[in-house]
């Protein structure tokens, strides 16, 4: 199996608190892996360790066989798209400028940039005339589409998403979940998704990594987490999520 990320015995602490504690984690290429867990379990920190936004205290991170270091992080990140909860769009640039900022920075021709923009707008079903708008003029869902387009602009090998739908209202969120899952399927890229919502995780990935206090508690599919929880913590976490979402029968998961 081709590994896109290999995290080996990495730790990261903030003061006395371990965000990630001696964790080893492999992310396979070409499919979606979801990192899930309660607040403070280290899932966002893991994501930032993967693209070198944070340097680990111990251990190492490799991306597609190459060690991620401070020196090569900027260039490696161009091969990893990144989307955060609020989109992280640059408010002083239009949607078009936001999406194409790295293309311009790396010297693409205007024609190449424009044709890529068309492809992405088509993929994310983003109206072309809205490309001239500033982030403040876009809806929350549109902003996340722009953010996704920006992440995909350089056609990266991997896509890292940190609660990409976390700030959206439920209706928009539901629609986008379905769309994003389709897009990921179409692209066939390595996707690492951080979420606190078990059912969102299940919607995107059959490979779910449940984290607790900076360490992997159980890595399995949704079915296994439900039927064979590795610990009482997993059982409680799954149970709590069912309590929150069960009544809605979210995504038609059977038996929920």
């Amino acid at each position: 199996m081709h590994l896109m990320f290999h995290l080996s015995d990495i730790s990261k602490s903030y003061g006395p608190l371990f965000a990630v504690a001696h964790t080893t984690l492999d992310i396979p290429a070409g499919r979606t892996t979801a990192l899930i867990g309660p607040s403070g379990c280290g899932k966002s920190t893991l994501l930032r360790l993967m693209n070198g936004l944070i340097a680990p205290d111990t251990g190492s991170v490799t991306f597609d066989g190459e060690a991620v270091t401070a020196a090569n992080a900027s260039s490696l990140r161009r091969r990893m798209g990144y989307v955060i909860q609020q989109g992280g769009l640059f408010p002083h640039m239009t949607a078009r400028q936001n999406i194409s900022v790295m293309a311009r920075h790396t010297g693409w021709t205007a024609a190449d940039t424009e044709s890529r923009l068309q492809v992405l707008a088509d993929l994310t079903r983003f109206p072309l005339d809205a490309l001239a708008r500033y982030p403040a003029e876009l809806s929350g869902g549109q902003r996340q589409r722009v953010s996704l387009m920006r992440a995909l602009m350089l056609d990266p090998d991997a896509l890292l998403l940190d609660e990409p739908l976390g700030a959206l209202d439920p209706m928009v969120r539901f629609d986008l979940q379905t769309e994003l899952a389709d897009i990921f399927k179409t692209l066939g890229k390595t996707v690492v998704l951080v979420t606190h919502d078990l059912f969102e995780a299940a919607h995107f990935a059959s490979d779910i990594v449940l984290l607790r206090d900076g360490a992997v508690e159980q890595r399995a599919s949704m079915d296994v987490l439900l039927s064979a929880p590795a610990s009482t913590f997993v059982k409680k976490f799954v149970g709590a999520q069912r309590g929150l979402n069960g009544a809605r029968g979210l995504n038609g998961e059977p038996g929920l």
Binding site: G87, F90, H105, A136, E137
Partner: protein, 506 residues
Amino acid sequence: MKYLSRLPALLLTVLLAVPFTAMHTLPAAAQDITVGSKKFTESVILGEIIKFTMTGNDIETAHRRDLGGTRILWSALLKGDIDIYPEYTGTLRQELLKGTDTHTLPLLRAALAKQGIRMSAPLGFNNTYAIGVTKETAARYGLATISDLRRHADFSLGFSNEFLDRGDGWPALRTTYRLPQQNVRGLDHDLAYRGLESGAIDGIDVYTTDAEIAYYDLFLLQDDRNHFPVYDAVILYRADLAERVPGAAATLTRLEGTIDAARMSAMNGAVKLDKKSESTVAAAFVTDRLKIAATPSDSGFVARLWKSTRDHLVLVIISLGAAILFAVPLGILAARHDRVGQCILAVVGIIQTIPSLALFVFMIPLLGIGGPPAIVALFLYSLLPIVRNTHAGLRGIDSGIVESAAAIGLEPGASLRIVELPLAMRSIMAGIKTSAVINVGTATLGALIGAGGYGQPILTGIRLDDTALILEGAIPAAVLALAVQGVFELAERAVVPRGLRLKSNG
């Protein structure tokens, strides 16, 4: 995005190009000699007299008038920014050479010579304290000397507050002469003259060359016990003047002993009360007394305004332009490195607390008088608002945005240029605007150290109690402050990205 990085650079190029061009178009200093004078009328008149005497003897001379106080003139003389200025022996003994034995003229000359300074013989008047009464009072009671006051215990005396407090003022005077008067009050100097005229007060303290002495026709009681220190007017000049400009020192001797107290007082009156210019009064003196032809050099309103404006703009544009070039990178550094940032903010904060006049005066030993020290002082004052706003603007950016910039693969420098600086631009421009307005205002103080500008008419106006002249500096200064604000308002529109001026719709 290119316009974002180019525009500030363009703006700065223009800002910097203007003053340098302006400096080159300024008339070169062709003068052999520069005379200085303090910011009071008598000193300015004497400065003009010296200038006319020199030019009458074919020595090209410039007069830098209305420089600040004694310290500024003395430092400028030592530094060589001026060659000559009128001073008083009392000031030399009590202030400048305090602690040195200078009680005779030869000793005083020797002490000055050690500093490379020479001194003329006294000009003929002693500008010290005196007790003045009306001529009527003097005649009626037969008063000639201060000792005569002992016979009139019921006299009421009105003294300036400074005179009541000074070591050589009323307390010491009373002891020296054993004066019996009980009815002594402190009051404003101008009011004292009026009280004397109305008969409410019998005697007041005056400076022996006050213009009002002639105006109110006062009689000065003789200091028969030599109580008051002598403040003989003399001319100080640099020892190197003799070799640099042959004949200059000899020319100065022509002024020795030519001005008595009555004459000086009359000249002060001609300026302060009759509103003649110092130049006119000085020209009349040298023509009449020294038989030297002199033309008063009074410039018209437009010429004066143009010169003040040009001087002021040079001060503001160079100091502010340099401050922007220096403070923005400093602010960036402060925002990027916590500990360094604390130091930078502390240092520029401390600079801001130094009183402006003190900072101007500190600069003189290093940079002399005139534009350069004023520009450096204004530059230092302009730093804090820009540094602080740059720092705050960068630190205030949403962390998700800065993280996204790094996450999409922008290097730190590119992130700063493409994302962070444009986002901080509004705050940076606000800092620059604040600095600009403070700068325009503070630059008026530059006149105290000979930098010219709108402070010049303000200073002279205050000295002559001439409101029109004060407004001649104050109004353009206010207009310039507004104009500078307006220019940066426009610049802000160009450099603050449009997306930042939109309201979020959620």
